[in-house]
């Protein structure tokens, strides 16, 4: 029963990891940007949520109504300035600039908000309570909600990219910037919108992690970025549904590892990542990279 429980918990935390991963995957798929500051921006979103909740006293769950647009605006602005400027100068510069951004954000958070970890919505019934199936399986309401949010976000993104008019424009810009520019659409603006979408998911990921666990300045790199990346690689680069599968595989591996010995939790996840890298470097769900 403990093993069934571990698998169920793993699948549900996989939703959280997919939420981390889809922004990374989206930005790579469209702009070919690997945003090394991805995790730190999620932490920033979580801190903004904490600030918004303390100042305005809105219900914790509704804080995303403010945080997501704010992060989307930050995403658009960052893409149009820093990231676009570095893209124009090549892949190397993009990596250096986003890595610099990551270090600056992390240390600025340390400097201004100390190394203390903070949670979001501590003590809320949604965060603390759970229901049980049979004996020995306890499922937290929060994880179910996060998983549902991840599925909604991923299917929304998938639908938007493959069916809507603007999604078609984004896919076109991903394929050929110059051709899009010639057809009368500013690819920089398209990239900006895409970054705004990605940062919106980053905001959701940051809030979700703050409720699920605790946020501290270093959470962004040593947890969120690395888990997001592992999920992307396991699932297959550039595939949105792949990131959900990748997140679930990572989550299950971690929970099974934790079941064996609590200190194996992270190692088990990374070993699965390395195994996929060795045996199936194109990811579990390889198709021709789609936007």
């Amino acid at each position: 029963m403990a093993w069934v429980n571990a698998i169920i918990q793993g699948v549900l935390t996989g939703g959280l990891y997919a939420l981390f991963a889809c922004g990374l995957s989206l930005m790579f798929g469209v702009m070919k940007v690997v945003n090394l500051a991805h995790g730190d921006l999620a932490v920033v979103a979580g801190y903004i949520a904490i600030g918004v909740i303390t100042v305005t006293h809105i219900p914790t769950l509704w804080s995303f109504l403010i945080v997501v647009p704010v992060m989307a605006a930050i995403g658009y602005a960052l893409q149009r300035t820093l990231i676009q400027a570095s893209l124009d100068r090549g892949v190397l510069t993009t990596l250096i600039v986003t890595f610099g951004l990551s270090v600056v954000i992390e240390n600025a958070l340390l400097q201004f908000f100390t190394a203390n970890s903070r949670g979001i919505g501590v003590g809320l019934p949604l965060v603390t309570e759970s229901f049980s199936i049979g004996s020995g399986i306890q499922i937290a309401y929060l994880l179910v909600v996060i998983f549902a949010v991840a599925v909604v976000v991923l299917s929304g993104l998938q639908y938007f990219l493959s069916r809507s008019k603007y999604g078609r424009l984004i896919r076109a810009a991903a394929d050929d910037q110059e051709a899009v520019q010639l057809s009368g659409a500013d690819y920089r603006h398209v990239f900006g919108i895409c970054a705004a979408l990605a940062f919106g998911t980053v905001a959701l990921g940051g809030i979700a992690y703050g409720m699920y666990s605790q946020l501290s300045p270093t959470t962004g790199t040593d947890t969120i970025l690395l888990f997001a990346f592992a999920a992307v690689v396991i699932g297959g680069l550039g595939s949105l549904w792949g990131t959900l599968l990748g997140g679930v595989v990572l989550g299950v591996a971690q929970q099974i590892g934790a079941q064996v010995n609590i200190s194996y939790e992270l190692l088990a996840g990374y070993f699965v990542f390395l195994a996929v890298l060795v045996l199936r470097p194109q990811g579990l769900t390889y198709r021709r990279a789609q936007s």
């Binding site: 790579f28 400027a85 990346f229 680069l237 190692l267 390395l274």
Partner: protein
């Protein structure tokens, strides 16, 4: 590329190909003099100064290696702390078994280089950005594995044994010399690599990877060698780090902060030149020493400066110096000199968007 040979002079053809505009012997003698003077530092400066210099040696060694990776081979690794940590742990393991930590340094370097081989096999499957995060994941994984072994300190680390009989003053001096030796060997190895065949391939990759591939340069092979050398160099730096701190703590030696420091020092100094990391390390040390009392501020400022330089002065501070004065401390390129021309022209244009030079 292959038509340019080492032949120093071919006067009949009306031009000469040389390594340097000035006599290389003088730069060599000057470098030797600097090393000799620095080696004598422990006799006439305070221990505080030498310990700051040891820190500078560690950063310079790591930055030079990162420069070889990012500046020449086009590999942005964010996981070099894996090798720093491995080097520190190799020294610790040997010290536990009764070998002097100083004697363990070469072993640490070679050990880290050997470990780099299977790691390269793993990460070389991924390109640019994903390569960067994959190295980071590897560093995190290696730290988690090492934390499992309680005999070498587990998750909390342990003090470095083997210093029981040492006089503190002597220990400081030995640490300083070890750091100096590692740095000098690092710079020498990089200089020799860049002057040799591998250097030609690397410079070609730096300037234009596609052109290098199409000219038959073995890009993958060159990259692997660079990854191994960089692993060994960062391992040696990690060993010096362990000796200078007298203890090894997993979260400290495997911190991504090392990669931030080596990367920023390189970018600020100038990617793709040997001189860049030296200048960058000097800037880094000045910033770090002046802002030491303001906690994390030096990394914030360093990061911002690195971002600005990466965007607006791609060749870094050394690039600015070079474009004014046109000097090389370490001549690794070739110069094409036409007869009767005083200043000469470079046989290979180093960068596409090179600003107009004064007096050339």
């Amino acid at each position: 590329m292959s038509t340019v040979t080492e032949t120093p002079a071919r006067p009949a053809a009306g031009f000469r190909v040389t390594r340097s505009q000035r006599n290389v012997a003088w730069t060599g003698i000057a470098a030797l003099a600097v090393v000799v003077v620095m080696a004598m530092f422990p006799y006439f400066v305070y221990a505080g100064t030498t310990s700051v210099l040891v820190q500078a040696f560690i950063v310079l060694t790591m930055a030079s290696m990162w420069n070889l990776l990012a500046g020449y081979a086009g590999l942005v690794s964010v996981g070099q702390q894996a090798f720093v940590g491995l080097g520190a742990y190799f020294v610790l393991i040997l010290a536990i078994n009764g070998i002097s930590p100083f004697a363990a340094l070469p072993v640490a370097a070679i050990g880290a280089g050997v470990v780099a081989l299977p790691l390269w096999w793993l990460v070389s499957r991924l390109r640019s950005g994903y390569f960067a995060i994959a190295t980071w994941v590897l560093a995190a994984t290696i730290m988690l594995i090492i934390e499992r072994f309680s005999s070498i300190g587990g998750g909390t680390g342990m003090p470095l044994p083997g210093f029981a009989g040492f006089d503190p003053t002597l220990l400081t001096a030995y640490t300083y010399w070890a750091g100096l030796a590692v740095t000098v060997i690092t710079l020498l190895v990089i200089y020799l690599i860049l002057r040799g065949r591998l250097g030609l391939v690397l410079t070609a990759i730096r300037d234009d990877e596609v052109a290098a591939r199409s000219s038959g340069a073995r890009v993958g092979w060159a990259r692997m060698l660079v990854f191994l050398v960089a692993g060994a160099g960062c391992g040696a730096a990690g060993g010096v780090l362990a000796i200078s701190q007298l203890q090894v703590q997993p979260s400290a030696v495997f911190s991504v902060q090392w990669t931030a420091e080596m990367g920023f020092a390189t970018i600020i100094g100038g990617l793709g030149t040997i001189e860049g990391p030296i200048l960058g390390t000097a800037v880094y040390m000045v910033l770090q020493q002046t802002l030491a009392t303001y906690n994390a501020w030096y990394l914030i400022i360093l990061g911002l400066v690195a971002i600005v330089i990466a965007l607006f002065a791609r060749r870094g501070l050394w690039g600015l110096v070079d474009s004014r004065l046109n000097v090389r401390l370490f001549p690794v390129g070739f110069w094409l000199r036409l007869d009767g021309e005083a200043n000469g022209r470079r046989s290979r244009t180093p960068r596409q968007r090179r600003p107009a030079k004064h007096g050339a």
